[in-house]
Amino acid sequence: MQDLGIRVLFEGSNFLRLLGGLWITVKIALISVSISFVLGIFLGIVMTLKNPVTKAITRIYLEFVRIMPQLVLLFLVYFGLTRAFQINLSGQLSAVIVFVVWGTAEMGDLVRSALISISKHQYESGTALGLTNLQVYRYIIIPQTVRRLLPLSINLMTRMVKTTSLIVLIGVVEVLKVGQQIIEANRYTAPSGALWIYGTIFLLYFIVCFPISRLAGRLEKRWMN
Amino acid sequence: MTQAQKVLEIQHLKKQYGNDAVLKDISLDIHQGEVVVIVGPSGCGKSTLLRCINGLEPIQAGDILLDGKVITDGKTQWSQIRQKIGMVFQNYDLFPHMTVIDNVLLGPTKVQGRTKQEAAADAKKLLERVGLLDKTNSYPRQLSGGQKQRAAIVRALMMEPEMMLFDEITAALDPEMVREVLDVVLELAKGGMTMIIVTHEMQFARAIADRIVFIDSGEIVETGNPEEFFTQPKTERARKFLNIFNY
């Protein structure tokens, strides 16, 4: 039975279809991560401001987004927004919106903590050397911030890719859905297909996420000491 | 002094890290009630020697004998030996999650199986002797460096050791706290405790030592009584070393 199962994987274009499904996931993650990074940097800077109003608003935003499971956020956007504004959002667009909202919050917090972790002395000793403000940022502050930030934000990326798996639950045809379709289509010829297909998807995610988290780990070791 | 019994004998001790010989052929006897102060430049191996004596570092050759019995043959129950040889470290190393009293009672209750109440009576006496009775229930973070170090000394004394090892116990202290710790050690010396002290406090070394051992590059270069060593060192290396301390 099991040899039939593994054949399903390579029959026709099945494996390519799975990869296509994975690409949807990765694509949504990439788009969301890129937008989140940019917005997150702004949010992070705003969060370091001493203004009580921006402080309160950003805090509530961050806490709400963090406390809600991402799947709940997906439901809110996919089912809720659609109804509230009578617009039909596709699953993919809903996913990007949710992941940007979530990713921006997480990224903003990373940027904030990276910024406040640089001690005042760094600014002062830069100025003491006669550097201009701009130079202080260019040569001292920004390089240090980036070093602190990069490993953590790469980690955020793996989290994003993993979380993107949820979009199957709002009807996006991605790797799990494609897998289901293949299993269904071969239900009688390959009853053990589910084992192989889901096993493969499991490994595919690992193959995508592992190098990214490895990279983050490396950078962290190199830079954080 | 000559009639006194040998407590500790170190015979041809060798210690290496990889190919780096840290201690090369060290031989040294410590007698009952003797205070030996080891001095020498940083990295000369003097702290390593203390750590070897307490079994914290494996040695490559040679023997260490306690009360005439070899303790470095690999068959030794270090737990037993360490109760007889107390050790105090440079960074105090009190257990930060325990109060002072719990720190000093951990050994007696868990190692020696004494009851808490009975051991606590002893602990209070010792804490009083070092002036820490009012800190009995404080956590280490609430103490000054000098207080922490005195508590660490009490922790070691609670095991009723035959001898004590002090590893640069004032090196991490602010200058104004050095005195209070050294006074405790001086007090112990007067009480007849056998001690090996590694220190950079030359005045203190001179005042407390029965014998000075000067180690350089893993070798004992010179031993002698403190007056001689500090006023007329026999070797060029010792002279150079002592010169560093006179501006």
Binding site: M1, Q2, I67, M68, Q70, L71, V72, F75, L76, F79, R83, K162, S165, L166, V168, L169, L176, I183, S192, A194, L195, I197, Y198, G199, I201, F202, Y205, F206, C209, F210, S213 | N54, G55, L56, W78, Q80, R82, Q83, G86, M87, F89, N91, Y92, D93, L94, F95, P96, H97, L106, G107, K110, V111, Q112, P140, R141, A152, R155, A156, M158, M159
Partner: protein, 219 residues
């Protein structure tokens, strides 16, 4: 907003929340146990097991729970391994959480300085006693914030359990949307349910963290 509807279906949410919490509870307990064992193996560098554990940790951290559940629930039965819905949920959550808890424990263990062990040795304590009285208490209190974060994370992850046919909060919400088109009400109750579960835990976590920070051990 149809408040009668909300009142009528609140019990369904309560039941679903209870299910979520029960599974989360066991998942967290098993995660902690798994994490403790794994971290001790890594800390003491037990030769063969160490590699196995790091393999497990990488696998668990680099795959989504949803995919793990699909494999457990739909894939494994083809090998003749049948696990109930709840079993899959608890197993999946523990598989995921174990690695996160292991990392939390490990950083706690590594934060305990080596000299603490030596101080323990110097008063004659045995290795086992040193772990129990000196290393673990310090490691655990250092790890508490990470534990709390992991617990919140794991409870949030329970939201995917509907895929293994468990009638959890998401399942109920989706059901009500599909059956009655009461989208607003269903979603509102969904959000409130998670708030009620997670907000207290999150508040306790940040209080604990603050207390630990101010009571920091220091040296």
């Amino acid at each position: 907003m149809d408040f009668d509807f909300i009142a009528e279906y609140t019990p369904m949410y309560v039941t679903a929340a209870a299910l979520t919490l029960r599974i989360a509870f066991w998942g967290i307990v098993f995660s902690l146990v798994t994490g403790l064992v794994c971290s001790l193996i890594q800390y003491y560098k037990i030769p063969a097991l160490k590699r196995l554990i790091s393999g497990y940790i990488e696998l668990s951290r680099n795959t989504p729970l949803l995919v793990q559940l699909f494999f457990l629930y739909f894939g494994l039965p083809k090998l003749g391994i049948m696990i109930s819905s709840e079993g899959c949920a608890i197993l999946g959550l523990s598989f995921l959480g174990g690695s996160y808890m292991a990392e939390a424990f490990r950083s706690g263990l590594e934060s305990v300085e080596k000299s603490q062990v030596e101080a323990g040795l110097s008063i004659g304590l045995q290795h086992k006693q040193i772990i129990r009285y000196i290393v673990l208490p310090q490691a655990i209190s250092v790890s508490v914030p990470a534990f709390c974060a992991n617990i919140i994370f794991l409870i949030k992850e329970t939201s995917v359990f509907s895929v293994v046919a468990l009638a959890d909060l998401m399942y109920v919400a989706k059901d009500l949307i599909g059956l009655y088109y009461k989208t607003d009400e269903a979603l509102l109750m969904l959000v409130i349910s998670y708030f009620v579960i997670l907000l207290p835990i999150s508040i306790i976590a940040s209080l604990l963290e603050r207390r630990l920070r101010y009571a920091g051990f220091g040296h």
